[in-house]
């Protein structure tokens, strides 16, 4: 029985919704379209991975959601909605009361993201102080120590007074996570949170993020270049290339049956897993396009083995892919002219 006309059950209202977002950055070579029409829905308690090579716009996307684009950055079009607020149209004062309270963010390198001048406990407490949810100092202090213990920092009373450089990378990352969680945000944006850490610590931090998601029901947007890591950790994955989402869907489907040639190439470029029948890692030929002058048509066509004249002329849009056609959060979609017709596939 073909499932293609079965209506998908109504998805829960997203806690974070990005609609058709386009971000321009002013660079030396002119205006760069770092994010080009990205749409993203994150349901409450959901973990969404955003995957791509460096420079594909994934970090800029997070900065735009936070309303913290670097100087010269500008949202050219689109909408960001967080639990009903239209973030891009809020005045700075109100936006400030949402940052760190409803939506929080952690960064790649905890040592540079923590201020070297202040003890780490102070930096966690600051996140509570600025939002005034706990106006009494003693109570804030108690909550900071609880939070430090909860994220796995041993002996919090002593570590409260430590400076960032006195802690290990993993402890620094826990401090940053504690500061981000200080006000129980609905959404946590994590920008390559494990890239700067060694492998064993990486696993611990991922465990911690998973616990945050499970126990606090915090939705997490994980930005990473590591497709396999995201496949294990996320419910859904969006693959970005040249500022656009080229494929998205349930994590397992994207990893196990990638539809976009870029996602397929990304997977082949990873070292083979044990027992996997594949010679070695295959790098993707060529380099990502210059976003100041993106190629016409599909942005991936200069590096794509399937490229045809159609790809060089017309940009593909996201279409349903995979055997089960659907809508909303259960759907698997890709932006490629060479997707097999879902109808045909479903019948065959």
């Amino acid at each position: 029985m073909a499932a293609r006309h079965v209506p998908v059950p109504e998805a829960p209202a997203p806690v974070l919704e990005v609609r058709n977002l386009t971000v321009h950055l002013r660079a030396a070579r002119g205006v760069v379209r770092a994010v080009a029409g990205v749409s993203l829905r994150v349901a409450p308690g959901e973990v969404v991975g955003i995957i791509g090579e460096s420079g594909c716009g994934k970090s800029t996307l997070l900065s735009a959601i936070m309303g913290l684009l670097p100087p010269g950055g500008r949202v050219a079009a689109g909408e960001v909605r967080l639990a009903g607020w239209d973030l891009l149209r809020l005045p700075e004062r109100q936006l400030r009361s949402i940052r760190g309270r409803e939506v929080a963010m952690i960064f790649q390198d905890p040592l540079t993201a923590l201020n070297p001048f202040y003890p780490v406990g102070w930096q966690i407490e600051e996140a509570m102080r600025v939002h005034g949810l706990w106006p009494r100092r003693a109570e804030r202090r108690r909550r900071v120590l609880e939070l430090m213990a909860w994220v796995g920092i041993p002996d919090p009373a002593r570590r409260y007074h430590a400076y960032p450089h006195e802690l290990s990378g993993g402890m620094q990352q826990r401090v940053m996570i504690a500061a981000a969680l200080a006000n129980h945000p609905r959404v946590l944006l994590a920008d390559e949170p494990t890239t700067a850490l060694d492998a064993t610590v990486q696993a611990q931090i991922l465990d911690l993020l998973e616990r945050i998601n499970r126990e606090q029901r915090t939705a997490i947007v994980l930005v990473s270049h590591d497709l396999r890591l995201a496949g294990q950790f996320c419910h859904r994955i969006a693959v970005m290339y040249a500022g656009q989402v080229v494929e998205e869907g349930p994590a397992l489907q994207v990893i196990e049956s990638p539809r976009h040639p870029y996602t397929q190439a990304l997977l082949r470029s990873l070292p083979p897993l044990e027992g996997e029948r594949r010679a070695a890692l295959e790098p993707i030929p060529g380099s990502p396009p210059d976003l100041a002058a993106p190629p016409p048509g599909c942005p991936f066509h200069p590096r794509c083995p399937l490229a045809t004249d159609l790809c060089r002329q017309a940009a593909p849009t996201l279409r349903w892919a995979g055997a089960v056609a659907g809508a909303g959060r259960t759907g698997h979609r890709a932006a490629c002219h060479h997707l097999p017709d879902p109808a045909e596939e479903a019948i065959s």
């Binding site: 913290l68 700075e92 940052r99 929080a104 960064f107 540079t112 070297p116 600051e126 940053m176």
Partner: protein
């Protein structure tokens, strides 16, 4: 406790340096052409050779230089800096009476440099390329390149002569009577509750303080701007903003303490200039300080005063640097003394 020991070590470690400096000064000042005895007796010519020899002997200048040096060093151990044959007073007393004026002036200059330089640097960095930024940087360039005697005369001409807002020379209105306590007139007038004297002392400090502080002000503004620009690009600023910290709070609480480190370094290096490089400013504003004393002593070949003053300059410089290092350790938790 450990800090106190370290500080003591630093102070004691400076002793060999000071000793070497004293000996070098002792030798070099005697190499300046011109004989102090001739200068003391005048160029009149109606002085007999016997009188010259007698004076030379009474000043101890007839002995070999190593004997003179040994006597001077022995005196130093007893806290005796020698005797000024030009001012006919113990050198120590001369230094003690002039040093407060010089330190007071240097502190005023430091105050102006920091109170104007730091905010200007911050505002320039927060809005780089703005009208304020370009104006500030152009003005600071002027501040660095303008010679102090000229700047001093211009300020004096404008504010003392034309506008008559501020006094031009001296430390205090001569009509006022102030009982000396420490020699720092601002402090003395506060201690004795002498408000007219306080007013007068402060107003006398403005023009020479500005003149002396002008260069440092310009340097501070520029260093502050560049280190602030760098600090504002750091991840910790983005993270603070992501926590919900306001823009100005991120600038003042997060960027400023980190950006102050290079500024403190520069100020520490320039403290020596403020204390020891003020001969011109003290001369222009008839400021009765150490700088003017040294200028006079050099012309009179008053060896003892020059030696004592150099020793004092060096000691204050060492002390100022120690203060900077202590401040440094506070600003940068990664360092310790």
């Amino acid at each position: 406790m450990r800090t106190a020991v370290r500080i003591l070590q630093r102070v004691l470690g400076a002793v060999p340096l000071l000793l070497a400096l004293v000996i070098a000064t002792f030798v070099f000042v005697r190499m300046i052409p011109g004989d102090p005895v001739d200068i003391l007796l005048g160029q009149g010519g109606n002085v007999s050779a016997a009188e010259v020899a007698a004076l030379r002997q009474s000043l101890g200048l007839d002995e070999p230089i190593q004997v003179q040096l040994a006597r001077f060093l022995r005196g130093l151990l007893e806290g005796d800096l020698g005797h000024s044959f030009w001012q006919r007073q113990p050198v120590a007393r001369l230094l003690v009476t002039t040093l407060p004026a010089t330190v007071e002036l240097a502190l005023a200059a430091l105050f102006f440099a920091l109170a104007i330089g730091i905010p200007v640097g911050i505002l320039s960095a927060v809005r780089p390329g703005s009208l304020l930024d370009r104006l500030a940087m152009a003005t600071s360039f002027l501040g660095i390149s303008m010679p102090a005697f000229w700047a001093g005369l211009m300020l004096m001409f404008l504010f003392a002569v034309k506008l008559r807002w501020l006094p031009s020379v001296g430390r205090l209105d001569p009509a006022l009577d102030l009982r000396p306590v420490t020699g720092f007139l601002v402090l003395d007038s506060l201690l004795t509750g002498n408000w007219p004297a306080l007013r007068s002392a402060l107003s006398h400090l403005v023009l020479p303080g500005l003149t002396l502080g002008l260069e440092l002000m310009a340097i501070v503004a520029r260093v502050m701007r560049s280190s602030m620009l760098e600090a504002l690009q750091q991840d910790y600023i983005r993270f603070a903003r992501a926590k919900g910290v306001s823009g100005w709070s991120a600038v003042l609480r997060h960027a400023l303490p980190n950006a102050l480190v290079p500024t403190v370094t520069v100020v520490g290096l320039q403290m020596g200039v403020l204390l020891g490089g003020n001969m011109v400013v003290e001369t222009v504003f008839a400021w009765p300080g150490l700088g003017r004393l040294v200028v006079g002593a050099i012309f009179a070949r008053d060896y003892a005063v020059v030696q004592g003053a150099v020793l004092l300059y060096a000691a204050t410089f060492v002390l100022a640097n120690l203060l900077v290092d202590i401040l440094y350790a506070y600003l940068n938790p990664k360092l310790s003394l």
